[in-house]
Amino acid sequence: MTTDLRPSRNGPPPASPAPARPGPPPTWRSRLARLDVKGAPYAFISPFYLVFLVFGAFPLVYTLWVSLHDWELASGTRKFVGLDNYDYLLSDADFWHATVNTLGIFALSTVPQLVLALLIANTLNRRMRLPTLFRIGMVAPLVTSTAAVAIVFTQMFDKDWGMINWAIGLVGIDPINWSSSRGWSWAAIAMMVDWRWTGYNALIYLAAMQAIPKDLYEAAAIDGASRLRQFWQITVPMLRPTIIFTVIISTIGGLQLFTEPVLFSVGTPNKMDGGPMHQFQTITMYMYDNAFGHDRYGYGATVAWALFVMIIVFSLINFLAVRRTGGTK
Protein backbone atom coordinates (compact mmCIF):
# COMPACT_ATOMS: atom_id res chain seq x y z
CA MET A 1 0.00 0.00 0.00
CA THR A 2 1.12 3.50 0.53
CA THR A 3 4.34 4.40 2.21
CA ASP A 4 3.79 7.17 4.64
CA LEU A 5 1.33 6.53 7.36
CA ARG A 6 3.68 7.89 9.97
CA PRO A 7 2.88 11.25 11.44
CA SER A 8 5.46 13.82 10.62
CA ARG A 9 7.83 14.49 13.49
CA ASN A 10 6.12 15.80 16.64
CA GLY A 11 3.02 16.68 14.68
CA PRO A 12 -0.44 15.37 15.49
CA PRO A 13 -1.54 12.01 14.07
CA PRO A 14 -2.36 12.31 10.39
CA ALA A 15 -5.69 13.93 9.83
CA SER A 16 -8.10 11.73 7.97
CA PRO A 17 -8.39 12.84 4.38
CA ALA A 18 -12.02 13.66 5.00
CA PRO A 19 -12.46 16.50 2.53
CA ALA A 20 -11.40 14.29 -0.34
CA ARG A 21 -13.57 11.27 0.52
CA PRO A 22 -16.35 11.01 -2.04
CA GLY A 23 -19.73 11.86 -0.63
CA PRO A 24 -22.81 10.09 -1.96
CA PRO A 25 -23.12 11.95 -5.25
CA PRO A 26 -19.63 13.08 -6.29
CA THR A 27 -20.09 16.63 -7.37
CA TRP A 28 -17.98 18.32 -9.98
CA ARG A 29 -16.40 20.45 -7.29
CA SER A 30 -15.44 17.57 -5.01
CA ARG A 31 -13.94 15.67 -7.93
CA LEU A 32 -11.78 18.63 -8.69
CA ALA A 33 -10.72 18.90 -5.07
CA ARG A 34 -9.86 15.21 -5.07
CA LEU A 35 -7.83 15.58 -8.22
CA ASP A 36 -6.04 18.50 -6.61
CA VAL A 37 -5.10 16.49 -3.52
CA LYS A 38 -3.99 13.47 -5.51
CA GLY A 39 -2.34 15.22 -8.39
CA ALA A 40 -0.76 18.33 -6.91
CA PRO A 41 2.19 16.59 -5.25
CA TYR A 42 3.24 15.04 -8.55
CA ALA A 43 2.76 18.31 -10.36
CA PHE A 44 4.92 20.04 -7.78
CA ILE A 45 7.83 17.65 -8.00
CA SER A 46 7.70 17.09 -11.74
CA PRO A 47 9.71 20.16 -12.82
CA PHE A 48 12.73 18.84 -11.00
CA TYR A 49 12.48 15.39 -12.57
CA LEU A 50 11.90 16.85 -15.98
CA VAL A 51 14.99 19.03 -15.80
CA PHE A 52 17.05 16.33 -14.18
CA LEU A 53 16.10 13.59 -16.61
CA VAL A 54 16.76 15.70 -19.70
CA PHE A 55 19.84 17.62 -18.57
CA GLY A 56 21.30 15.48 -15.77
CA ALA A 57 20.59 11.75 -15.93
CA PHE A 58 20.31 11.38 -19.67
CA PRO A 59 23.63 13.13 -20.41
CA LEU A 60 25.43 11.04 -17.82
CA VAL A 61 24.18 7.78 -19.30
CA TYR A 62 24.56 9.06 -22.83
CA THR A 63 28.20 9.87 -22.06
CA LEU A 64 28.68 6.13 -21.76
CA TRP A 65 27.10 5.57 -25.17
CA VAL A 66 29.12 8.33 -26.80
CA SER A 67 32.29 6.88 -25.31
CA LEU A 68 31.73 3.70 -27.31
CA HIS A 69 31.99 5.66 -30.54
CA ASP A 70 34.42 7.49 -32.68
CA TRP A 71 32.21 10.56 -32.58
CA GLU A 72 33.04 13.88 -34.19
CA LEU A 73 30.57 16.71 -34.48
CA ALA A 74 32.44 18.88 -36.92
CA SER A 75 33.26 16.19 -39.42
CA GLY A 76 30.05 14.27 -38.85
CA THR A 77 31.87 11.00 -38.15
CA ARG A 78 29.97 8.61 -35.92
CA LYS A 79 31.25 5.08 -35.84
CA PHE A 80 30.68 2.44 -33.17
CA VAL A 81 34.05 1.26 -31.92
CA GLY A 82 33.09 -0.70 -28.81
CA LEU A 83 35.64 -0.50 -26.05
CA ASP A 84 38.43 0.81 -28.27
CA ASN A 85 38.40 4.20 -26.57
CA TYR A 86 38.77 2.57 -23.16
CA ASP A 87 41.53 0.39 -24.48
CA TYR A 88 43.30 3.48 -25.77
CA LEU A 89 42.70 5.32 -22.49
CA LEU A 90 44.56 2.67 -20.52
CA SER A 91 47.71 3.17 -22.55
CA ASP A 92 47.28 6.90 -23.12
CA ALA A 93 50.31 8.53 -21.53
CA ASP A 94 48.70 11.98 -21.74
CA PHE A 95 45.69 10.82 -19.77
CA TRP A 96 47.83 9.32 -17.03
CA HIS A 97 50.02 12.38 -17.00
CA ALA A 98 46.91 14.50 -16.42
CA THR A 99 45.75 12.05 -13.78
CA VAL A 100 49.00 12.40 -11.85
CA ASN A 101 48.74 16.19 -12.12
CA THR A 102 45.18 16.14 -10.85
CA LEU A 103 45.99 13.88 -7.93
CA GLY A 104 49.09 15.90 -7.12
CA ILE A 105 47.24 19.20 -7.02
CA PHE A 106 44.41 17.51 -5.15
CA ALA A 107 46.72 16.19 -2.45
CA LEU A 108 48.69 19.44 -2.21
CA SER A 109 45.51 21.43 -1.75
CA THR A 110 43.20 19.23 0.27
CA VAL A 111 45.48 18.24 3.11
CA PRO A 112 46.67 21.73 4.13
CA GLN A 113 43.22 23.12 3.45
CA LEU A 114 41.46 20.83 5.87
CA VAL A 115 44.17 20.94 8.53
CA LEU A 116 44.24 24.74 8.41
CA ALA A 117 40.47 24.88 8.48
CA LEU A 118 40.43 22.70 11.57
CA LEU A 119 42.93 24.95 13.33
CA ILE A 120 41.13 28.13 12.34
CA ALA A 121 37.81 26.68 13.46
CA ASN A 122 39.34 25.75 16.78
CA THR A 123 40.58 29.31 17.13
CA LEU A 124 37.23 30.79 16.12
CA ASN A 125 35.58 28.56 18.70
CA ARG A 126 36.68 30.77 21.58
CA ARG A 127 34.96 33.60 23.26
CA MET A 128 36.23 36.69 21.52
CA ARG A 129 35.43 40.15 20.40
CA LEU A 130 33.99 40.74 16.94
CA PRO A 131 33.33 37.07 16.15
CA THR A 132 31.16 37.97 13.17
CA LEU A 133 33.86 40.10 11.61
CA PHE A 134 36.33 37.23 11.70
CA ARG A 135 33.80 34.76 10.34
CA ILE A 136 32.74 37.03 7.54
CA GLY A 137 36.36 37.63 6.63
CA MET A 138 36.92 33.89 6.33
CA VAL A 139 34.27 33.45 3.66
CA ALA A 140 35.18 36.49 1.58
CA PRO A 141 37.16 34.24 -0.80
CA LEU A 142 34.18 31.99 -1.36
CA VAL A 143 32.05 34.91 -2.42
CA THR A 144 34.24 35.86 -5.35
CA SER A 145 34.42 34.56 -8.86
CA THR A 146 36.85 31.73 -9.40
CA ALA A 147 37.89 33.01 -12.78
CA ALA A 148 38.54 36.54 -11.53
CA VAL A 149 40.57 35.38 -8.59
CA ALA A 150 42.54 32.92 -10.68
CA ILE A 151 43.62 35.83 -12.88
CA VAL A 152 44.67 37.86 -9.85
CA PHE A 153 46.65 34.98 -8.39
CA THR A 154 48.29 34.27 -11.70
CA GLN A 155 49.64 37.79 -11.71
CA MET A 156 50.78 37.41 -8.10
CA PHE A 157 52.66 34.26 -9.06
CA ASP A 158 54.32 35.91 -12.06
CA LYS A 159 58.01 35.03 -12.27
CA ASP A 160 59.30 38.57 -12.81
CA TRP A 161 56.58 40.90 -11.60
CA GLY A 162 54.68 38.81 -9.10
CA MET A 163 54.26 39.92 -5.55
CA ILE A 164 54.93 36.48 -4.18
CA ASN A 165 58.42 36.26 -5.63
CA TRP A 166 59.03 39.79 -4.36
CA ALA A 167 57.88 38.78 -0.87
CA ILE A 168 59.98 35.64 -0.68
CA GLY A 169 62.88 37.68 -2.03
CA LEU A 170 62.67 39.80 1.12
CA VAL A 171 63.66 36.77 3.15
CA GLY A 172 66.40 35.85 0.71
CA ILE A 173 64.74 33.17 -1.39
CA ASP A 174 65.47 33.22 -5.10
CA PRO A 175 62.53 33.89 -7.44
CA ILE A 176 60.59 30.79 -8.37
CA ASN A 177 59.38 30.17 -11.90
CA TRP A 178 55.96 29.08 -10.70
CA SER A 179 54.33 28.14 -13.95
CA SER A 180 57.20 26.29 -15.60
CA SER A 181 57.93 23.43 -13.26
CA ARG A 182 55.52 20.68 -12.45
CA GLY A 183 55.82 20.82 -8.67
CA TRP A 184 55.74 24.60 -8.34
CA SER A 185 52.79 24.99 -10.68
CA TRP A 186 50.88 22.41 -8.67
CA ALA A 187 51.73 24.32 -5.51
CA ALA A 188 50.58 27.64 -6.98
CA ILE A 189 47.27 26.18 -8.14
CA ALA A 190 46.82 24.39 -4.81
CA MET A 191 47.25 27.72 -3.06
CA MET A 192 44.48 29.26 -5.15
CA VAL A 193 42.21 26.39 -4.18
CA ASP A 194 43.17 26.60 -0.53
CA TRP A 195 42.62 30.32 -0.46
CA ARG A 196 39.10 29.86 -1.71
CA TRP A 197 37.96 26.92 0.38
CA THR A 198 39.76 27.01 3.74
CA GLY A 199 37.36 29.50 5.31
CA TYR A 200 34.33 27.60 4.07
CA ASN A 201 35.59 24.40 5.66
CA ALA A 202 36.52 26.27 8.83
CA LEU A 203 32.95 27.47 9.23
CA ILE A 204 31.59 23.98 8.69
CA TYR A 205 33.95 22.67 11.37
CA LEU A 206 33.06 25.55 13.66
CA ALA A 207 29.38 24.72 13.40
CA ALA A 208 30.11 21.12 14.32
CA MET A 209 32.39 22.15 17.18
CA GLN A 210 29.68 24.25 18.72
CA ALA A 211 27.49 21.19 18.93
CA ILE A 212 30.01 19.29 21.09
CA PRO A 213 28.77 19.22 24.69
CA LYS A 214 30.95 21.38 26.86
CA ASP A 215 30.90 19.03 29.82
CA LEU A 216 33.15 16.72 27.82
CA TYR A 217 35.84 19.37 27.93
CA GLU A 218 35.04 20.13 31.53
CA ALA A 219 35.52 16.51 32.52
CA ALA A 220 38.73 16.27 30.53
CA ALA A 221 40.05 19.45 32.13
CA ILE A 222 39.33 18.04 35.56
CA ASP A 223 41.25 14.92 34.60
CA GLY A 224 44.15 17.18 33.73
CA ALA A 225 44.05 16.88 29.94
CA SER A 226 45.87 19.69 28.18
CA ARG A 227 44.19 21.83 25.55
CA LEU A 228 46.11 20.07 22.80
CA ARG A 229 45.07 16.69 24.13
CA GLN A 230 41.46 17.80 24.36
CA PHE A 231 41.65 18.93 20.76
CA TRP A 232 42.92 15.57 19.51
CA GLN A 233 40.91 13.33 21.80
CA ILE A 234 37.60 15.13 21.99
CA THR A 235 37.25 17.68 19.21
CA VAL A 236 38.67 15.70 16.30
CA PRO A 237 36.86 12.41 17.03
CA MET A 238 33.58 14.22 17.60
CA LEU A 239 34.00 15.97 14.27
CA ARG A 240 34.53 12.79 12.30
CA PRO A 241 31.23 12.86 10.36
CA THR A 242 31.87 16.47 9.45
CA ILE A 243 35.41 15.71 8.40
CA ILE A 244 34.13 12.91 6.19
CA PHE A 245 31.69 15.36 4.60
CA THR A 246 34.38 17.95 3.87
CA VAL A 247 36.79 15.34 2.56
CA ILE A 248 34.21 14.02 0.12
CA ILE A 249 33.19 17.48 -1.02
CA SER A 250 36.86 18.37 -1.53
CA THR A 251 37.44 15.15 -3.43
CA ILE A 252 34.60 15.79 -5.83
CA GLY A 253 35.72 19.39 -6.35
CA GLY A 254 39.44 18.64 -6.43
CA LEU A 255 39.26 15.91 -9.05
CA GLN A 256 37.25 18.18 -11.33
CA LEU A 257 39.61 21.13 -11.02
CA PHE A 258 39.37 23.26 -14.15
CA THR A 259 39.00 27.03 -13.85
CA GLU A 260 42.15 27.78 -11.86
CA PRO A 261 44.61 25.81 -14.02
CA VAL A 262 42.98 27.04 -17.24
CA LEU A 263 43.46 30.66 -16.23
CA PHE A 264 46.91 29.94 -14.86
CA SER A 265 47.79 29.21 -18.52
CA VAL A 266 47.29 32.79 -19.73
CA GLY A 267 49.67 33.70 -22.47
CA THR A 268 50.09 30.16 -23.78
CA PRO A 269 48.70 29.22 -27.19
CA ASN A 270 46.29 26.54 -25.97
CA LYS A 271 45.00 27.18 -22.48
CA MET A 272 43.73 23.63 -22.15
CA ASP A 273 47.27 22.27 -22.38
CA GLY A 274 48.19 23.35 -18.89
CA GLY A 275 51.55 24.76 -19.87
CA PRO A 276 53.90 23.82 -22.71
CA MET A 277 54.87 20.54 -21.05
CA HIS A 278 51.30 19.91 -19.89
CA GLN A 279 52.77 20.23 -16.42
CA PHE A 280 49.48 21.26 -14.84
CA GLN A 281 46.91 19.90 -17.24
CA THR A 282 44.12 18.31 -15.20
CA ILE A 283 41.83 15.47 -16.29
CA THR A 284 38.93 17.85 -16.85
CA MET A 285 41.10 20.05 -19.07
CA TYR A 286 42.17 16.97 -21.02
CA MET A 287 38.56 15.92 -21.45
CA TYR A 288 37.56 19.41 -22.55
CA ASP A 289 40.47 19.67 -24.97
CA ASN A 290 39.70 16.34 -26.60
CA ALA A 291 36.03 17.09 -27.11
CA PHE A 292 35.84 20.80 -27.77
CA GLY A 293 39.40 21.41 -28.91
CA HIS A 294 40.01 18.42 -31.19
CA ASP A 295 36.51 17.27 -32.11
CA ARG A 296 37.04 13.93 -30.38
CA TYR A 297 33.75 13.75 -28.49
CA GLY A 298 33.85 9.98 -28.19
CA TYR A 299 37.20 9.93 -26.51
CA GLY A 300 36.32 12.97 -24.41
CA ALA A 301 33.31 11.07 -23.14
CA THR A 302 35.58 8.15 -22.26
CA VAL A 303 37.75 10.46 -20.18
CA ALA A 304 34.63 11.87 -18.51
CA TRP A 305 33.48 8.42 -17.50
CA ALA A 306 36.91 7.48 -16.25
CA LEU A 307 36.85 10.63 -14.13
CA PHE A 308 33.38 9.85 -12.83
CA VAL A 309 34.47 6.39 -11.75
CA MET A 310 37.60 7.88 -10.19
CA ILE A 311 35.54 10.35 -8.17
CA ILE A 312 33.36 7.57 -6.82
CA VAL A 313 36.35 5.37 -5.98
CA PHE A 314 38.27 8.16 -4.29
CA SER A 315 35.26 9.34 -2.33
CA LEU A 316 34.80 5.80 -1.06
CA ILE A 317 38.48 5.39 -0.21
CA ASN A 318 38.51 8.69 1.63
CA PHE A 319 35.29 7.86 3.39
CA LEU A 320 36.70 4.58 4.65
CA ALA A 321 40.08 6.07 5.50
CA VAL A 322 38.64 8.90 7.54
CA ARG A 323 36.20 6.61 9.27
CA ARG A 324 39.03 4.36 10.35
CA THR A 325 41.47 6.94 11.62
CA GLY A 326 41.00 7.50 15.29
CA GLY A 327 38.21 4.97 15.16
CA THR A 328 37.61 2.15 17.57
CA LYS A 329 40.10 1.68 20.28
Partner: protein
Protein backbone atom coordinates in the same frame (compact mmCIF):
# COMPACT_ATOMS: atom_id res chain seq x y z
CA UNK B 1 24.69 38.58 36.79
CA UNK B 2 23.85 35.14 35.65
CA UNK B 3 25.96 32.68 33.78
CA UNK B 4 25.69 33.84 30.19
CA UNK B 5 27.07 30.61 28.84
CA UNK B 6 25.91 30.93 25.28
CA UNK B 7 27.72 28.99 22.61
CA UNK B 8 31.37 29.88 22.44
CA UNK B 9 31.77 32.82 20.22
CA UNK B 10 28.02 33.00 19.90
CA UNK B 11 26.07 35.99 20.98
CA UNK B 12 24.98 36.09 24.57
CA UNK B 13 21.51 37.34 25.37
CA UNK B 14 22.66 40.26 27.42
CA UNK B 15 25.29 41.60 25.07
CA UNK B 16 28.69 40.34 24.19
CA UNK B 17 30.46 41.42 27.32
CA UNK B 18 30.39 38.26 29.42
CA UNK B 19 32.79 39.42 32.03
CA UNK B 20 32.35 36.76 34.63
CA UNK B 21 32.24 33.24 33.49
CA UNK B 22 33.34 30.35 35.60
CA UNK B 23 37.04 29.96 36.04
CA UNK B 24 37.48 26.63 34.36
CA UNK B 25 36.19 28.05 31.10
CA UNK B 26 38.88 30.65 31.08
CA UNK B 27 41.47 28.46 29.49
CA UNK B 28 39.02 27.05 27.01
CA UNK B 29 37.10 29.94 25.62
CA UNK B 30 39.00 33.05 26.50
CA UNK B 31 40.85 34.37 23.53
CA UNK B 32 44.51 35.05 24.06
CA UNK B 33 46.62 37.54 22.12
CA UNK B 34 47.92 34.59 20.11
CA UNK B 35 44.37 33.76 19.09
CA UNK B 36 43.80 37.26 17.84
CA UNK B 37 47.11 37.25 16.03
CA UNK B 38 46.20 34.01 14.26
CA UNK B 39 42.81 35.35 13.29
CA UNK B 40 44.11 38.69 12.09
CA UNK B 41 46.70 36.96 9.91
CA UNK B 42 44.06 34.60 8.51
CA UNK B 43 41.73 37.52 7.89
CA UNK B 44 44.45 39.48 6.11
CA UNK B 45 45.35 36.53 3.90
CA UNK B 46 41.77 35.94 2.92
CA UNK B 47 40.98 39.53 2.10
CA UNK B 48 44.28 40.65 0.60
CA UNK B 49 44.00 39.26 -2.97
CA UNK B 50 40.63 40.97 -3.36
CA UNK B 51 42.08 44.20 -2.02
CA UNK B 52 45.10 43.92 -4.29
CA UNK B 53 42.83 43.43 -7.26
CA UNK B 54 41.10 46.74 -6.52
CA UNK B 55 44.42 48.55 -6.01
CA UNK B 56 45.75 47.45 -9.37
CA UNK B 57 42.44 48.27 -11.04
CA UNK B 58 42.79 51.88 -9.92
CA UNK B 59 46.38 52.42 -11.04
CA UNK B 60 48.41 52.58 -14.21
CA UNK B 61 50.28 49.66 -15.68
CA UNK B 62 53.58 50.68 -14.17
CA UNK B 63 52.20 49.30 -10.90
CA UNK B 64 53.54 45.83 -11.54
CA UNK B 65 57.08 47.12 -11.64
CA UNK B 66 56.82 49.10 -8.42
CA UNK B 67 58.91 47.99 -5.49
CA UNK B 68 57.52 47.74 -2.91
CA UNK B 69 54.05 47.17 -4.38
CA UNK B 70 51.62 50.01 -3.66
CA UNK B 71 49.06 49.39 -0.99
CA UNK B 72 46.67 52.26 -1.58
CA UNK B 73 44.26 52.81 -4.45
CA UNK B 74 45.27 55.26 -7.16
CA UNK B 75 43.13 57.60 -9.23
CA UNK B 76 42.85 55.72 -12.50
CA UNK B 77 39.90 53.47 -11.71
CA UNK B 78 37.58 55.41 -13.98
CA UNK B 79 39.98 55.31 -16.94
CA UNK B 80 40.53 51.59 -16.57
CA UNK B 81 36.84 50.78 -16.37
CA UNK B 82 36.28 53.03 -19.37
CA UNK B 83 38.92 51.15 -21.37
CA UNK B 84 37.24 47.94 -20.28
CA UNK B 85 33.88 48.85 -21.73
CA UNK B 86 35.44 50.34 -24.87
CA UNK B 87 37.46 47.22 -25.51
CA UNK B 88 36.11 45.58 -28.66
CA UNK B 89 37.29 42.06 -27.87
CA UNK B 90 35.97 41.64 -24.36
CA UNK B 91 32.26 42.25 -25.08
CA UNK B 92 32.12 43.34 -21.51
CA UNK B 93 28.74 45.10 -21.41
CA UNK B 94 27.17 42.13 -23.15
CA UNK B 95 28.85 39.76 -20.74
CA UNK B 96 27.48 41.64 -17.76
CA UNK B 97 23.99 41.73 -19.21
CA UNK B 98 24.06 38.02 -20.09
CA UNK B 99 25.26 37.10 -16.62
CA UNK B 100 22.65 39.26 -14.97
CA UNK B 101 19.84 37.73 -17.01
CA UNK B 102 21.04 34.16 -16.58
CA UNK B 103 21.70 34.48 -12.85
CA UNK B 104 18.37 36.15 -12.17
CA UNK B 105 16.43 33.60 -14.21
CA UNK B 106 18.14 30.59 -12.67
CA UNK B 107 17.75 32.01 -9.17
CA UNK B 108 14.03 32.78 -9.43
CA UNK B 109 13.28 29.49 -11.07
CA UNK B 110 15.36 27.39 -8.67
CA UNK B 111 13.83 28.99 -5.61
CA UNK B 112 10.32 28.59 -7.00
CA UNK B 113 10.53 25.00 -8.19
CA UNK B 114 12.70 23.83 -5.30
CA UNK B 115 10.34 25.25 -2.70
CA UNK B 116 7.36 23.80 -4.52
CA UNK B 117 8.90 20.33 -4.62
CA UNK B 118 10.32 20.70 -1.12
CA UNK B 119 6.85 21.48 0.18
CA UNK B 120 5.44 18.41 -1.54
CA UNK B 121 8.12 16.16 -0.08
CA UNK B 122 7.83 17.60 3.41
CA UNK B 123 4.10 18.02 3.81
CA UNK B 124 2.03 16.23 1.20
CA UNK B 125 1.20 12.56 0.98
CA UNK B 126 1.62 10.65 -2.21
CA UNK B 127 2.62 7.26 -3.43
CA UNK B 128 6.32 6.58 -3.90
CA UNK B 129 7.41 9.61 -1.93
CA UNK B 130 10.26 8.00 -0.05
CA UNK B 131 11.73 6.39 -3.12
CA UNK B 132 11.56 9.61 -5.08
CA UNK B 133 13.19 11.52 -2.27
CA UNK B 134 16.03 9.02 -2.27
CA UNK B 135 16.62 9.54 -5.97
CA UNK B 136 16.87 13.27 -5.31
CA UNK B 137 19.54 12.71 -2.70
CA UNK B 138 21.37 10.47 -5.16
CA UNK B 139 21.30 13.14 -7.87
CA UNK B 140 23.10 15.52 -5.55
CA UNK B 141 26.19 13.33 -5.89
CA UNK B 142 26.41 13.64 -9.67
CA UNK B 143 28.51 16.54 -10.89
CA UNK B 144 26.86 18.21 -13.87
CA UNK B 145 30.18 18.53 -15.69
CA UNK B 146 30.37 14.77 -16.08
CA UNK B 147 27.62 14.96 -18.66
CA UNK B 148 28.99 18.04 -20.37
CA UNK B 149 29.65 16.38 -23.72
CA UNK B 150 26.12 15.00 -24.28
CA UNK B 151 24.76 18.21 -22.80
CA UNK B 152 26.57 20.05 -25.54
CA UNK B 153 25.19 17.64 -28.13
CA UNK B 154 21.68 18.29 -26.85
CA UNK B 155 22.27 22.01 -27.26
CA UNK B 156 23.47 21.49 -30.81
CA UNK B 157 20.34 19.44 -31.57
CA UNK B 158 18.11 22.11 -30.06
CA UNK B 159 19.98 24.84 -31.86
CA UNK B 160 20.74 26.53 -28.55
CA UNK B 161 24.47 26.73 -29.07
CA UNK B 162 25.59 30.24 -28.31
CA UNK B 163 22.13 31.16 -27.01
CA UNK B 164 21.62 32.32 -23.48
CA UNK B 165 19.00 29.67 -22.71
CA UNK B 166 21.79 27.09 -22.93
CA UNK B 167 23.20 28.37 -19.63
CA UNK B 168 19.77 28.79 -18.05
CA UNK B 169 17.46 25.90 -18.89
CA UNK B 170 19.62 22.97 -17.67
CA UNK B 171 19.88 24.62 -14.25
CA UNK B 172 16.27 25.64 -13.68
CA UNK B 173 16.05 23.50 -10.55
CA UNK B 174 18.56 21.37 -8.64
CA UNK B 175 18.23 18.33 -6.44
CA UNK B 176 20.21 20.13 -3.83
CA UNK B 177 17.69 22.96 -3.75
CA UNK B 178 14.76 20.57 -3.45
CA UNK B 179 16.43 18.70 -0.63
CA UNK B 180 17.34 21.87 1.24
CA UNK B 181 13.81 23.26 1.01
CA UNK B 182 12.35 19.93 2.12
CA UNK B 183 14.50 19.92 5.22
CA UNK B 184 13.44 23.42 6.09
CA UNK B 185 9.76 23.02 5.29
CA UNK B 186 9.62 19.90 7.42
CA UNK B 187 10.31 21.97 10.51
CA UNK B 188 9.14 25.46 9.63
CA UNK B 189 5.59 24.76 8.50
CA UNK B 190 3.15 23.39 11.10
CA UNK B 191 0.83 20.71 9.75
CA UNK B 192 -2.11 22.37 11.49
CA UNK B 193 -1.68 25.46 9.38
CA UNK B 194 -1.89 23.43 6.20
CA UNK B 195 -4.92 21.48 7.38
CA UNK B 196 -6.63 24.69 8.40
CA UNK B 197 -6.01 26.24 5.01
CA UNK B 198 -7.35 23.13 3.32
CA UNK B 199 -10.50 23.16 5.42
CA UNK B 200 -10.95 26.77 4.41
CA UNK B 201 -11.06 25.59 0.83
CA UNK B 202 -7.57 26.49 -0.33
CA UNK B 203 -6.23 24.54 -3.28
CA UNK B 204 -2.88 22.84 -2.79
CA UNK B 205 -1.13 25.49 -4.79
CA UNK B 206 -2.98 28.16 -2.82
CA UNK B 207 -1.62 26.60 0.37
CA UNK B 208 1.86 26.72 -1.08
CA UNK B 209 1.56 30.29 -2.21
CA UNK B 210 -0.18 31.76 0.84
CA UNK B 211 1.02 29.63 3.72
CA UNK B 212 4.15 27.70 2.85
CA UNK B 213 6.16 30.11 0.74
CA UNK B 214 6.04 32.91 3.33
CA UNK B 215 7.17 30.47 6.00
CA UNK B 216 10.05 29.32 3.79
CA UNK B 217 11.34 32.81 3.18
CA UNK B 218 14.59 32.56 5.19
CA UNK B 219 15.68 29.32 3.55
CA UNK B 220 14.53 30.55 0.16
CA UNK B 221 16.73 33.61 0.66
CA UNK B 222 19.82 31.54 1.37
CA UNK B 223 19.13 29.20 -1.54
CA UNK B 224 18.60 32.21 -3.79
CA UNK B 225 21.83 33.86 -2.70
CA UNK B 226 23.92 30.81 -3.36
CA UNK B 227 22.20 29.96 -6.60
CA UNK B 228 22.86 33.47 -7.83
CA UNK B 229 26.52 33.33 -6.83
CA UNK B 230 27.01 29.93 -8.38
CA UNK B 231 25.43 30.90 -11.68
CA UNK B 232 27.34 34.17 -11.83
CA UNK B 233 30.55 32.27 -11.13
CA UNK B 234 30.07 29.42 -13.61
CA UNK B 235 32.94 29.11 -16.07
CA UNK B 236 33.34 25.75 -17.78
CA UNK B 237 29.89 25.21 -19.23
CA UNK B 238 29.49 28.75 -20.64
CA UNK B 239 32.99 28.41 -22.09
CA UNK B 240 31.90 25.25 -23.87
CA UNK B 241 28.54 26.39 -25.16
CA UNK B 242 28.85 30.14 -25.72
CA UNK B 243 31.18 31.86 -28.15
CA UNK B 244 33.52 34.71 -27.23
CA UNK B 245 31.32 37.37 -28.80
CA UNK B 246 28.28 36.37 -26.73
CA UNK B 247 29.92 35.79 -23.35
CA UNK B 248 28.98 35.72 -19.73
CA UNK B 249 31.01 38.09 -17.61
CA UNK B 250 33.44 35.32 -16.64
CA UNK B 251 34.10 34.68 -20.32
CA UNK B 252 34.59 38.41 -20.86
CA UNK B 253 37.45 38.49 -18.42
CA UNK B 254 38.74 35.31 -20.01
CA UNK B 255 38.69 37.14 -23.36
CA UNK B 256 40.73 39.92 -21.78
CA UNK B 257 43.18 37.47 -20.27
CA UNK B 258 43.69 35.83 -23.65
CA UNK B 259 44.34 38.99 -25.58
CA UNK B 260 45.77 41.40 -23.04
CA UNK B 261 47.48 39.27 -20.47
CA UNK B 262 50.17 41.87 -19.90
CA UNK B 263 47.73 44.73 -19.46
CA UNK B 264 47.18 44.13 -15.78
CA UNK B 265 45.17 47.22 -14.98
CA UNK B 266 42.71 46.40 -17.74
CA UNK B 267 42.40 42.80 -16.62
CA UNK B 268 42.04 43.73 -12.98
CA UNK B 269 39.43 46.34 -13.80
CA UNK B 270 37.59 43.50 -15.50
CA UNK B 271 37.90 41.11 -12.59
CA UNK B 272 36.84 43.85 -10.18
CA UNK B 273 33.69 44.60 -12.12
CA UNK B 274 33.03 40.88 -12.53
CA UNK B 275 32.98 40.28 -8.80
CA UNK B 276 31.25 43.53 -7.88
CA UNK B 277 27.75 42.03 -7.59
CA UNK B 278 29.16 39.21 -5.50
CA UNK B 279 30.89 41.66 -3.20
CA UNK B 280 27.66 43.63 -2.79
CA UNK B 281 25.80 40.43 -1.97
CA UNK B 282 28.54 39.54 0.45
CA UNK B 283 28.52 42.86 2.25
CA UNK B 284 24.73 43.04 2.51
CA UNK B 285 24.06 39.38 3.29
CA UNK B 286 27.30 38.28 4.96
CA UNK B 287 25.56 37.06 8.09
CA UNK B 288 22.99 35.04 6.17
CA UNK B 289 25.74 33.47 4.08
CA UNK B 290 27.60 32.45 7.20
CA UNK B 291 24.39 31.15 8.71
CA UNK B 292 23.71 29.15 5.57
CA UNK B 293 27.15 27.57 5.56
CA UNK B 294 27.06 26.77 9.25
CA UNK B 295 23.64 25.18 9.08
CA UNK B 296 24.99 22.93 6.37
CA UNK B 297 22.55 24.45 3.95
CA UNK B 298 25.22 25.15 1.41
CA UNK B 299 27.00 22.68 -0.75
CA UNK B 300 30.32 23.65 -2.23
Amino acid sequence: MTTLLAGPGGRTPGGRRAAAHPGRYRGLWNASPLTYLTLVVALALSVFPIYWMIIVATRTNSVVADVPPPLLPGGHGGDNVGRLFDNPEAYFAKGLLNSAIASAAVTVSTVFFASLAGFAFAKLRFRGKNGLLLTIIATMMIPVQMGIIPLYMIMVKLGWQNHLQAVIVPFLVTGFGVFMMRQYADQAVPDELIEAARVDGCTTFGIYWRVVLPALRPAAGVLGLFTFMQTWNEFMWPLAVLSPDNPTVQLSINNLANAYFKDYTLMFAGTSVAILPLLVVFIVFGRQIIGGIMEGAVKA
